[in-house]
């Protein structure tokens, strides 16, 4: 697609974006003389699991792979909570959901916690511009950012307009003020709409598919390690027993939605590359959470299994940051805000203790673990080789030796050979929890915190 670019000739630039003018000559030179403070383009996907689950031969994501190639991929990256609003509250604050108050969809973010939109404006002099889904109660996106559009809650219909808006903003912006642009694309989240009613009873033949075209079932489709009672209550009520054909159809559609959003990412990157700021812009891409896509017999989110909790995380700034690097150190969503702040040359907001990702990009050692939360009561610790999951007050503990069991087929929590690892992860969990400044709702139960249906296909 990039080859389409050279013949582009801009015709119009009007309205709010055009008022700022386009960089040229002296203005551009002045920018270059400044400290290397890049523009920051933060692209977020919705419900995209880690791309390495996908068969490259079956799913075409050339743009995401191009971004991987021109930047650094964090291969062991987790959302702070596999649920839209909680994970998003972490992006903007650098804190875990139990600290922002957004422990479930619908729970409001507490007052007094700085968010990245205003922080970048006030501390860094950035123009913070927002496009797309916000989905955070208790914090007005129009107060935190210059929100141009919140798009639409249907990715098919709303993501292309967002790419067009991003193009306008990237091409017509002021050279005198750094830009912090976030583009929140909705897909592959439309898989929720596919599931809602429309897919009921849908067969491959209905949509013109030969069953042989469907993806194979994931190897852990039938795996059922011991699970906490709350998790089973929320995620495994009897009605949600998905059959093999349903899961394979679900996967097939999920892959198409992912390809769709890949195209949108490509259009944004193309617009960036055509702008005068291509080499002055750091790009960060992630997703709020993944999707279980049939693994462990589950679909959608809210689970701390890999498919739903592990997310893509790509950081790219050509010429300034490593290209083609893969970092295996476990990281989580709290790391994004301090990273953006470090790129922007501003301190992270007070209370943010998560380290920036920049030392890892420089090849320095990390702290060795990442953490996540789920369903108010669930906690996860991920180290290089293991993942530990426990729910408050529930005797079931999960310990997966991911180095040998990447599909989480079997919990080794009860196995003597892994007893010391279990103890070590219990300790890490205690130590991590001791650092959290939890809001009261996070200390209560899932049932108390839940205001409405915590359904997986909520927006």
């Amino acid at each position: 697609m990039s080859a389409l670019e050279p013949s582009r000739r801009e015709l119009l630039a009007a309205g709010a974006a055009a008022a700022t003018g386009v960089a040229s000559g002296p203005a551009l030179a002045r920018r270059r003389r400044e400290a290397r403070r890049p523009h920051v383009l933060f692209i977020t996907l919705d419900q995209s699991n880690d791309l390495t689950w996908l068969d490259e031969g079956r799913v075409a994501t050339p743009n995401l792979r191009r971004l991987m190639a021109r930047g650094t991929r964090f291969s062991t990256s987790y959302c702070s909570m596999p649920s839209c609003s909680p994970a998003r509250s972490t992006w903007w604050t650098g804190r875990y959901p139990s600290e922002t108050g957004v422990v479930l969809i619908g729970q409001p973010m507490i007052d007094g916690v700085p968010d990245l939109g205003r922080w970048m404006q006030e501390q860094g002099g950035y123009e913070s511009v927002y496009l797309g889904k916000w989905h955070l109660e208790g914090r007005d996106v129009f107060q935190s950012f210059r929100c141009v559009s919140r798009g639409l809650n249907i990715g098919l219909q709303g993501d292309v307009p967002l790419t067009s808006m991003a193009r306008a903003i990237l091409q017509d912006r002021s050279p005198d003020r750094p830009l912090f642009l976030t583009v929140n694309l909705l897909n592959p989240h439309d898989i929720c709409i596919y599931r809602k009613g429309l897919a009921r009873g849908l067969t491959p033949e209905d949509v013109g598919l030969d069953p042989s075209e469907l993806p194979p079932l994931p190897p852990n489709f039938k795996a059922r390690p011991p699970e906490a009672a709350l998790f089973q209550q929320v995620k495994r009520p009897g009605k949600k027993d998905y059959g093999p054909t349903y899961v394979r159809m679900f996967q097939w559609y999920y892959e198409r939605y992912l390809e769709m959003v890949d195209g949108a990412v490509g259009a944004i990157l193309q617009a960036l590359e055509a702008s005068p700021y291509a080499r002055e812009t750091a790009v960060i891409l992630t997703s709020d959470h993944g999707d279980a896509i049939g693994q462990h017999g589950l679909i959608f989110k809210s689970s701390l299994y890999e498919a739903a909790a592990r997310v893509p995380l790509l950081v790219s700034w050509p010429g300034e940051l490593p290209e083609g690097l893969v970092v295996d150190e476990p990281v989580d969503g709290t790391r994004i805000a301090p990273t953006i702040c470090e790129l922007a040359g501003v301190n992270a907001p007070p209370g943010v203790i998560a380290p920036s990702l920049m030392p890892l990009l420089r090849g320095e050692p990390g702290r060795g673990w990442a953490a996540a939360q789920a369903l108010v009561e669930g906690r996860m610790i991920r180290t290089r080789d293991y993942k530990y999951v426990a729910f408050r007050g529930d005797p079931v503990e999960q310990l997966f030796h991911l180095a040998e069991d990447p599909w989480e087929m079997k919990s080794v929590a009860e196995e003597g050979a892994h007893a010391s690892a279990l103890e070590e992860h219990r300790r890490l969990l205690r130590e991590w929890e001791a650092t959290l400044v939890d809001v009261p709702v996070a200390r209560g139960s899932y049932a108390e915190a839940r205001k409405g249906p915590e359904d997986d296909d909520e927006e």
Binding site: R9, S149, G151, S164, I193, R200, D206, G208
Partner: protein
């Protein structure tokens, strides 16, 4: 015989909506308007949510076809995203994979408050020539036209498509999808179907009536339903 799945959600709508009267001759100019609906899984007219409109005017002469396109989409917060485009295409031939091939286009997109579309908050526009893409390149608007034409029956080569001239979709194919009989504006009609598939698109069906009008363009979530067609 039951309707194909792709028409089941639209059966009532197509039966109730007045059938457009304009019927263009092959290569003659036409102008058509489609309404974009969200499908809810309930095939009743009142359950359809309208998300926007698409209007295409076609004129063709010799080696060049011209499409004048206007679209609008409703977004959150009472915003409207509109596009106006002029698209030049090469007529379908074996060399273009039997779909109209993009030559050049100009596009202006605007984001406006729905109540004051004349006062856009953001405008973006450019013109561009199609070059540098390997293989055959078309756009969705020209493809919609192609389904009513005889050449489409030969379409088998994979092609790429610029969705609304903004986002590239690749590895697309068109295949025949049979016929379906249903009520169209209260009268019985038999539609001819085509299925579009490939990377970055949901399987999409084009249903064309005997006069060559694209009556419905539909996938699992959305449908474009023909509202009007003028063929002077």
């Amino acid at each position: 015989m039951s309707l194909p799945w792709s028409l089941r959600n639209l059966e009532t709508v197509l039966a109730e909506r007045p059938r457009p009267t304009g019927a263009p001759a092959v290569d003659a100019p036409w102008r058509a308007r489609w309404t974009v609906h969200v499908l809810s899984g309930k095939p009743r007219t009142q359950d359809l949510l309208t998300l926007g409109h698409l209007e295409i005017g076609f004129s063709g002469a010799g080696d060049e076809w011209l499409y004048e396109v206007s679209t609008e989409r409703q977004l959150r917060d009472a915003q409207l995203w509109a596009q106006d485009a002029v698209v030049r295409c090469a007529p379908p031939t074996a060399q273009t994979g039997h779909v109209p091939a993009l030559l050049a286009w100009s596009l202006e997109s605007r984001l406006s408050p729905r109540k004051t579309p004349e006062a856009p908050a953001l405008v973006n526009g450019w013109e561009q020539e199609a070059s540098g893409v390997d293989g055959i390149l078309t756009c969705d608007w020209a493809l919609m036209h192609a389904f009513g034409r005889p050449e489409i029956a030969e379409a088998s080569e994979p092609f790429s498509m610029l969705e609304t001239l903004e986002v590239l979709r690749s590895g697309l194919r068109v295949q025949p999808a049979g016929e379906a009989s249903l009520s169209l504006g209260g009268e019985p009609a038999t539609l001819r179907g085509w299925r579009l598939s490939g990377h970055g698109v949901l399987p999409t069906w084009a249903w064309v009536d005997p006069e060559g009008r694209l009556v419905a363009w539909t996938e699992v979530q959305r449908a474009w339903v023909l509202e009007a067609m003028e063929a002077p």
